[in-house]
Every structure is written in C-alpha cells, then in structure tokens.
Amino acid sequence: MAAQFEIRCTHPDAKYARQAADYAFRVADQLEQKLSRFIENSDISRINHLSAGEHAIVSYETMQCLRLARFMHAETGGAFDVATGKGLESLDLVPGEFLVCAHANGVHLDMGAIGKGYAVDRMAEVLEDWEVEQALISAGYSSVLSLEPPSGSEDWPLTISMPGKGANATLANVAGRQRALGASGIRKPDHILDPRTGKPVRLRQAAWVSAPRRVLADIGRPAEVGSSPAAVADALSTAFMIVPPVEIKKYCCRHPGLEAWILQPHLIHFVNR
C-alpha cells in the first residue's frame, strides 16, 4: 500500500464533489490501516506475526481482500502471490469467523499488488453512492479506475508509456470509461519476485492490464467477495510480469475485452476483441 490516491471528477457543485472525494479518501485511509504491512497493528502485520498453530481475527475488508488474493493466486497458476511463495498455502481462511489460521512459521503477506486496487474499487462505490459519477480514480498511477467521462467527452484519455519516459514515449492510448487498468514494473528494482523461484523478475520491464469493469468483475466473481474490478486488474498486471507470453495470450482469449501489454524489452500487445 502506501500509495498516493488521486481522484479527478467533474460535478456541477465543486464543493460537494470535494466532500465526496474526502469521504472516499477516508475510506482508503481506513483500508490502509487494515491492509498495510508497514503499520504495526494492521490486520496484515498481525498475520505476519503468526507462528504455526496461531490464528488472528481480521476485519471484514481484510478477509474479503485475502479471499480475492487467494482466488487470483489460483486463477494465475500461482503467478500472483501476496505471500511471494512464502506461505499463502499455509494459511487457512475461515470467512464466516473472520479467522486466519497459520500452519507454518514465517508467513509474509504484502497486499500491495491487490490492496491498492481493492481500495480504488471501494472509493468508486463511495463516489457512485454520492452520485459523483464522472470520475477517474488512481492509486499511485498503477491502479486506475475510470467511471463515466466528463460531459462532452467520450472517455478519460489515458496512456501507457515507456517506464520513466512519460509524455513523448507513449506506447498505447486507452479510452477510460467504466474501465480498470493495472500496471506493474521494475523501476523499483527487484521488488517483484517470481513466487515459483523466489528470484526477482528482471527480464520483463513492465506489464499492463486493461478491461471493462464488468469483464474484470466477472473474472473475480468465483471468489464471492463482491465486485472488485480494479483489484483484479491490479493482481493480473503483477501476474503478467511473470506468466509466459503464450499463457497471457490464452488468458486474454478466454476473456474477451481483456487487453494486456508486456515490455521485454519490445512491446507485446494481447487482445481478443
């Protein structure tokens, strides 16, 4: 977590829209308190302190997020792993009791690659509840959800670019409207580990995922934790740093509307319209 959240929105009453955004930011803060591994008493820190045989009671949101994370782990053949190979299997989740039980020592969860998206989804719910529907939400620019575009526009214009280069190194344009995007990369060196080898990912520079909200929500549906499209995009973009291109291609074929890009070092674009 520890991301900077940003909301852009249009609304006839700017003050009201600002209040809605404030409310959404408060929701993100509350999630951060539960999901950040950097906060000593967060749910995730408490899980990371468990020894074999111990359990922790976590809050509703943490359990939802863990269930989605576990589902995405299976969905991506283990490529997406909030425990980076260190113990997701050794945790038992008991959803009804909000219990997380550890069967081994040394679990280390980092919800960064799904929690940001999860927070963005919850922020979108706040904005929609407030009827501030023309909005674009971002967590650290890597987890982005576009709702309706500003009046008179078709969409929120978005780009993906060469990492670190920005404006004049655009790789693709994306029309943001009821669409979630996730991005991963290695500008911060060696922070993505291949859970299957434990080694840092170095070959692929970046991966992006983009799809309509409903396509991503459908992918996450079997997790039974409600709709969380940005969280799914977030998790897929991390997985696509690792998954071989042929697998990404197959995955996109199975999910019409889902697009992905990887940079290794040339750009490969996957799409099945």
């Binding site: 000593e40 302190h49 407030w130």
Partner: protein
C-alpha cells in the same frame, strides 16, 4: 414510591419487551459462555464503528443492542457490519427505549455519541445497573463530567473513560519501566506535544441520507450540517483542542504525575468561518505543573490548516528525552550524552533496544574524524499488535470480570476533562488562568 398508572403505550412496550426477553433467553441460554459479556453500543458513528471492529477481535463479547438516531445511514451501516460479524442484535433510535427493553440482558454499554450527549447516556446506563465505557471527552463542561463520576459511584458500576493510550502497552511500558522504575530521563522539566491536521472542509452527506428536521431537533441539532460537524459547535463539542488535545494532555497529566496549577493559552478561529467554526481552529497552550521534583512546563499545540509533524508527545529531562505517539512508528528515547550515565545496562536488561553503533576508531588512532551524527537514540522493545482501542476495551471487560483494574476510571477521566476544558476558558480569558483545588473535587 410514586405509583405509576400504566397507559396503553407503556403496556404494549413492556409486554413486547418481555416477549423479546423470553425469546432471547430461551434461544441463547445454552449458548451463552460463562464469561460472555453482552454489550450495547450507543452512537454508531465513526468511532462507534472503530470500537465495534475492536470488540469483534475480543473473545466472548457479544454486541446485542445498537442505538443510533441516524437510522438512514450510520445505524444501518453498523448494524449490517454487526450482522456480518455474527452479532445478533436489536436496533434502536432512542436510548431510553433501548435501556427499557434491553437492560436486563446487558452487562455493559459503550457510549460513543457526540460529547454533549455523554452525560445523559452514561448516567442513564449506570442508573440502569450497567457498566459504562464512555468515549472522551467525558463532557462539554466539568459539571456534567462530575455528574457522570458521581453516578458511577452511586451505582457501584464501572466507568471507563475512552483515553485508550492508558491501556496501550507502549505507553504503559514507558510510564512504568522507563519513567518510574529506571527514571531514564532524570528530572523531567518539560513536555510538549501536538496534533496538527490538514485543512478540511466541513462534513456533508448526500441529501437523501438526511434525517428529518424533527429528529434532529429532538436530539439537539439545528441542522444536518451542525449534526455532522458537532465538534465545532459550542455546547456540542469543544473544538480541536478538546477533540485531539484531550488524548495527549491526558498523557501530560499521567506521565508528569500531577495536576496542573495554571494555563496560559492563545487561539482563535482565524482561518475558517466563525459562523460554522464556533470553536477555535488553532490553539496553543502552556501548562504549569507543580511536582515534588520541581516545576514542569508543558506546551501543546493543535492546528487544523497544516499537518506538519503529525501527532506526538515529548518528555524532556536533564538526562534524556522520550518521544512517543499512538502511531507506533514514533517511539524513541534519546540519551543526553553530556549528563546521562551509560545506558548499556538497560539495553542488557532488555529495557531498550541497542542504538545503532558508531564504528570504533582504529586501535592506533585516538579519534576517527567524521561527519557528526545525532545523539544516540534507543528504540523500545514493545510492539502493539492490536487495533489501538482493543487493549482499552479489554481492560474494561477484564475489570467487569474482576480480573483487572481500570486504567482510566471516571476519576482519572474527570481530571483530564477538567484540565482540557480549562484551555478553552483560558483562550477566552486571554490571561493566565489558575486551577482552584475545588475544580478537581468530585
């Protein structure tokens, strides 16, 4: 005893209550664990939800009743959350109705309503024979706070005031081990603390969640706007100095181990609109504490236009300084290298974590010349692995079970309330204000 005629309304209410009680009794009689406590919540706002989230993590606590006047929004939200957590409960708009129906099946009540309601709610619960966890600030004036403590004494029930740092293992460790036993700071002469926040708009909500004007008026609010922003209004809250300062000025009183004798304070509504921000948007206050070891002066500041530095408390003595904050990232002791003895033995005893060592010079050298570094700082061997309010609630529940002593009983909360509420008086007076002994009398 006055006789009471039973009218139809009363009659229906009592029979309904009896029916409920029977149903609940027969359903749960077998299930109720021997040390299970049944708790009601009055005030399911932001803090009410935080306390629910903490209670969910404590074994053998059942929240069985929920009261909040905002049926359209907060009550619904928190009620859903309770159901999700498996707490079967009844919901109420009015606290008196809740007490009438539920008191025989309850052990305790958590009061997390706006400050000006605390006295009515806490006293009614105590009179109903229930233990009370009452959020800070106890009241908006010392007299109401005094009445709550008296009601607790008369009822013989427990009253815990919501200054949760009093149960925080890190604060307890600093107080008991570092300040009292090891006297690490030497003679404490000074304290300072702050809670600075960024500029913020007044709270608002989508119109469809508004309460009816009748309900608002019945419970003492002029408008939705005032209801949502009660902290800023005289008679409803006490402004940031009471809302935020209360937590930390409580620590001044506790760690210094004395009551203040006087306050000099300055503040005002300098940034926001005085119509909507009746209380001061910034306050700076200086407290003087007479202690057996000499005078201690403490400075406190709260801003609502810039969050620089966040929130923390610092205690300074002639041998070292302690910096502490509820947020765990900020807890350190600094040794005054000119005056403090070596702290190596405290490190060996496990009271402090070893500071980062500066490398020793080569054996043949007297000195290694280098950039000067900060004086040694020692981290604490204590972690809080629970939500911030959980230990304080646990202390309350354990005290009900006779297994603990309250860390913030009414008497302590009262002294803090008297201290904190005096700051607004001192700002208003614009001159030093002295505490009289009777201010602290119950």
């Amino acid at each position: 005893m006055p006789t009471k005629t039973i009218d139809r309304r009363d009659f229906i209410k009592t029979t309904a209550a009896a029916g409920l009680a029977l149903g609940a009794g027969s359903r749960d009689a077998g299930a109720r664990a021997s040390n299970e406590l049944r708790v009601a919540l009055i005030g399911a706002g932001n803090q009410g939800l935080v306390l629910v989230e903490s209670c969910q993590k404590i074994p053998n606590i059942r929240i069985t009743a929920l009261c909040d006047i905002w049926a359209e929004y907060q009550q619904k939200y928190v009620s859903n959350r309770l159901s999700t957590y498996g707490h079967t409960h009844n919901t109420y708009i009015d606290y008196e109705e809740m007490l009438d129906n539920e008191k025989d099946r309850l052990d305790a009540v958590i009061v997390a309503t706006p400050d000006f309601w605390h006295a009515a709610h806490a006293i009614a619960c105590l009179k109903a024979g229930l233990h009370v966890y009452c959020e800070k600030e106890m009241a908006t004036n010392p007299e109401d706070a005094r009445r709550i403590v008296r009601a607790a004494r008369e009822s013989g029930k427990l009253l815990q005031v919501g200054h949760q740092r009093r149960s925080n293992p890190r604060y307890l460790f600093c107080y008991q081990k570092l300040l009292r036993e090891a006297m690490l700071l030497g003679r404490i002469t000074t304290a300072n603390g702050q809670w600075n926040r960024s500029r913020q708009d007044l709270r608002t909500m989508p119109a469809r969640y508004a309460m009816s004007p009748e309900t608002l008026e019945k419970y003492g609010y002029r408008s939705m706007q005032q209801f949502l922003n009660w902290r800023w209004y005289r008679g409803l809250g006490g402004g940031p100095i009471v809302d935020l300062g209360s937590h930390q000025i409580d620590i001044f009183n506790w760690f210094v181990g004395a009551r203040p004798s006087s306050i000099v304070a300055s503040g005002g509504t300098d940034y926001y609109n005085r119509e909507t921000h009746e209380w001061y948007d910034n306050v700076m206050a200086l407290f003087e504490y007479p202690t057996p070891g000499g005078t201690v002066r403490a400075f406190y500041q709260t801003l609502t236009t810039n969050n620089f530095g966040g929130y923390y408390e610092v205690f300074l003595g002639d041998q070292g300084s302690l910096e502490i904050s509820e947020s765990g990232a900020r807890a350190k002791v600094y040794r005054d290298i000119a005056n403090a003895p070596d702290w190596g033995s405290w490190v060996k005893q496990g009271l402090l974590l070893a500071p980062e060592e500066e490398p020793e010079p080569q054996p043949q050298a007297q000195l290694d010349v280098r950039e000067s570094v900060a004086p040694p700082s020692y981290a604490l061997p204590i972690q809080l692995l629970k939500p911030y309010h959980q230990p304080h609630l646990e202390n309350f529940f354990d005290a009900i079970r006779g297994k603990a002593k309250l860390t913030c009983p009414g008497e302590v909360g009262f002294e803090t309330a008297v201290t904190v509420l005096k700051v607004n008086e001192a700002v208003e007076a614009n001159r030093p204000v002295l505490f009289k002994p009777q201010d602290f009398e119950l």
